[in-house]
Amino acid sequence: MSFNIKEWIFTTDHKRVGVLYLIGSIAAFGVAGIAAMLMRIELSTLGPTITTNPTQYNVWLYAHGAVMILGFQIPALTGFFANYCIPLMIGAKDVAFPRVNALSVWLFYVGIILALLTFVVPDPPDVMWTGYPPYSTITTGNTALYSFTVLILGFASIIGGVNFLTTVAYMRAPGLKWSNLNIFVWCTLGAFVLQLIFVPVLGTAVTLISFDKYLGTHFFDPSRGGDVLTYQNLFWFYSHPAVYVIFLPFIGVVYEIVATFAKNRVFNHKVVLWGGIGGIVILSGEVWVHHLYVSGMADWIRIGQMVTTLLISIPVGLLVISLAGTLYKGSITFETPMLYALGVLFLFLIGGLTGIPLALTSLTLHLSDTYYVVGHFHYVMAVAGTFAIFGGVYYWFPKITGRMYNERWGKIGFWLTFVGVNIVFWIMMTVGVKGMPRRYYDYSAFPQFESAHQWMTFGAAILGVGFVIAVANWIIGARKGAPAGDNPWRSQSLEWTTVSPPPHGNWPSPPSVDPDWTPYSYERR
């Protein structure tokens, strides 16, 4: 089989589109990770360390946040995993609109190229990934680059969403009921519903700041009748649901891995679908004000959304109970994907619980905009999501490539990363509680935190090595790994019933399933 670049660029095969998403998002992850390392090195001493220009630091910070979320996590989860796994999991030949699918991956590449231009243009954006006005409308940085990055990636995501909702609705294998779909499929559909509802709001927000900055409008300029808070509301009205756009698919990946490596049915399957996933989809649009607890919103809405925010603990709690229950009476093995999945459970447990103080409006008056918040959301979303992505890539690696990665190096990479993230983000939360504000180039006002910053830099170096080992393991495994066979994990899920790697069209003959089959029926064998 020879490699033909044209076949890849113009492909409409969902598996190749998925792999293109994976390559692009891992590249984005690398760049954003380097930005994070540069920041950590900068913060390792009080005062300037490797740059004397605060704008340089702010650009790294912008790039780290924007690229990690928009260029890595969302595309890896709703681009790569959804593309690669959904048609295989539902027994379809491809997605409903393969050419639209190709368009979405092209737009994704345009988007990450725009995002990476940050490191090339003379006036890079320095508005943070949130782009709050008035600063974003008066900065000399390039706010338009930010707006267009968000718009293009948002557009790619919307057409992806339409495509997958149609695919699952109309292209399931004969006999495959909605309630027997893989949990990952349900989770991803939930995420796409959220994208379809909320992305347009973000698009509006970032378009309006560019209008304000370049066309002379005054949407957010109070001296001409605008209001700065409008932007923050629009932005978080999307960006809180965006957390669940990341959370739902990643917990879906974790479900697939945990069920497979425990060789067990999913505990309380129906409640996971309706209570867990459904509950999150319904609540996700009613909690955005918890990002605005200190921004001067009316008191009544801050209190009201404190209650809705706390209630999120219910669907999330049901999911965590179900994941723990899936281990009960299982037959558990601990290969690399399972380690990552259990790592996600641990990180998510810490991240979720440390979110409870942040749900309380009054506690947030102190905690908001400190390193506590940064530590919390890295645990709960950033690192937990990244672990799920890495675990998922390891899990489906034999399916994608037909080869096996190196188990030993996989485990070494996992443990380095796991230890590293806990050093970095645990310390980050503790200095945050003591008052270390976020987005600081120079923390001279808080010299007492210097040694904590040095420990964090040390932890970041360890976790960086771990991630490099993982990516190297994939590259080497894809080229030289031992043949893996069609179903090395002995999974019951449909994607493992075809050959590895699956041919164009996925199945030699279209599959059909019994009505009482589920992807997790191990006991029947």
Partner: protein
Amino acid sequence: MHTENTAPGGRVRAAAAAWLGGCAAAWLAAPALAYEPASAAPGRINDPAAGWDHLWHEVIVDITIIGVLFALVMAWFLWRYRARKPGEVGTQSKLSPAAVIGWAVIPTFIFMADDFYLAANGWKLWNDYRDVPADRMEVKLESGMYSWDYTYANGVRTQNVLRVPAGKPVMLRMTSRDTLHSHFIPDFRVKEDSMPGRVTYLWFYPKAPGEHVVSCAEYCGVMHSYMAGKIIVMPEGEFKTWLDQEVAKLAPADKAVDKSAEQTADKPANPPV
């Protein structure tokens, strides 16, 4: 596999009803437990910073218990149900309908009870943060890139250093002349954004003389991290002497100051207090 739920159906239902009743009672009782009758002896001031430390401690104990329980259960499962021989599969049986409902409803009630208990506590502390004591000193704050500009009631102005008397609540009425800023005083556990076009407020209760760092907590521009200030809490007498001196310095330049003071004075509307 799933037939055992039919025979002792009556007992299952009774047990479920008892559980639900208990949970519902806990759920209803939780806010009541958190509620304390208003400690509104006139003149008593509820210090939000002390309240913060108390509630933080309570929440940390709460989440640590939940976290450790979950982690222990999971660790036990991982150990107990590790695969012993190759080719084994899990043996969990399908939940009975009663168990499905139980495993959904009971955790929901437990979480909800905890949520409402925390919400009630959080709301109470919130009221302490937002209800400013009547006997207070008010200072106006205009933030800008990159300084904190304070104006006392008598027109005295300072930059980046706020001197206050010990033992008196201090309220800041805040606005901004350019971008968003957030006046963060870690020692007093409080911050609130200031922005152009709106007036926001916060208050704190400096009890003893000392110095406290002020930092900017909302990204405001290139020099965000250098926007540090200081609150100096002085014994009441010393503060009065200092303020009188400043007023005296102000007198000769009275005319010039008046004009700009008026300008800033009529910009912000009164915040709802």
